[in-house]
């Protein structure tokens, strides 16, 4: 909108700030993009995991144990664990940010989710590594 003096201010952002593309939070679209990348990766991993579980239904301990310890299955399990927990952490955090307006509760919940997803991911990773390496 031109003003009477002919001075035209369309944005308060500097050109450098726009070129950096990091936005007001200074992290850009990293989190948004990672949510998409992780969901894309989880499509084949989920199909593989559910298909495997369905085939292992009712199998004795030794069979399930041997299945998880194979290098290829252990690799896919580790990928599934890492990506699932990252996806989960971002998803739950987004929900907390959208619906919880009190800073204390939101921050507490966010940190609790971060801690829980990290610990669960580590526990699952160590379990798979033990299955793959120690048997």
């Amino acid at each position: 909108m031109p003003d009477p003096k002919g001075l035209k201010i369309e944005t308060m952002r500097s050109t450098l700030s726009r070129a950096r593309g990091l936005g007001a939070a200074n992290t850009g679209v990293q989190e948004w993009w990672m949510q998409r990348l992780t969901s894309l990766a989880l499509i084949p991993l989920t199909l593989w995991f559910v298909f495997s579980l369905v085939q292992l239904t009712g199998a004795p301990y030794a069979v399930v144990h041997a299945w998880a310890g194979t290098p290829i299955h252990a690799t896919l399990l580790l990928a599934l664990i890492a990506i699932t927990f990252q996806h989960m952490r971002m998803g739950v955090q987004t929900i907390a940010e959208d619906y919880i307006h009190g800073t204390t509760v939101r921050l507490t919940l966010t940190l609790a989710v971060k801690a829980a997803s990290l610990l669960l991911a580590l526990a699952a990773t160590i379990a798979v590594l033990k299955l793959a390496i120690a048997g």
Binding site: M88, I95, L120
Partner: protein, 140 residues
């Protein structure tokens, strides 16, 4: 602009260009099926987050030995365990299907209402089909 109320949806990009912003649903005025499906994506996401605890329990028990594995195996075969597993598969396939539609939406496709209405039928059908298929293969 087709309606005078659209004026509420005007906003500016960071470049200063005028654009039409999407308007959030007025939950206290109306609630349609697509809004329920949208919140369903978040609810199933949270349910799946809780379900990861069972996944970790399963993997840790498998690595710990036969007696630990027997306890998780026993739990999954109780009525509560079956109910949780069934809920987990249904939530997983729902979240899976809606998630794929979200990825398609991110490319700018299928955003119009007729496409949304068509795809919701596909999503509900695929969720039911995949859940049934999973259990049929698992139990037969």
């Amino acid at each position: 602009m087709r309606d005078v109320r659209d004026v509420q949806m005007l906003g500016r990009t960071s470049d200063g260009r005028l654009v039409q912003r999407p308007l959030s649903g007025h939950l206290s005025v109306y609630l349609d099926f697509d809004m329920v499906m949208s919140v369903g994506h978040r609810i199933t996401g949270c349910a799946l987050a809780v379900g990861t605890i069972v996944l970790v329990w399963f993997l840790v028990a498998l690595a710990s030995g036969e007696s630990a594995y027997a306890s998780v195996s026993w739990f999954l075969r109780t009525p509560v365990g079956y109910f949780a597993l069934f809920g987990w598969t249904a939530a997983l396939w729902y979240h899976f299907c809606v998630g794929i539609r979200h990825l398609i939406w991110d490319t700018g496709r299928m955003y119009d209402l007729p496409s949304v209405h068509r795809s919701r039928g596909v999503i509900l059908g695929a969720t039911a089909g995949l859940t049934l298929l999973t259990w049929l293969i698992a139990l037969l």
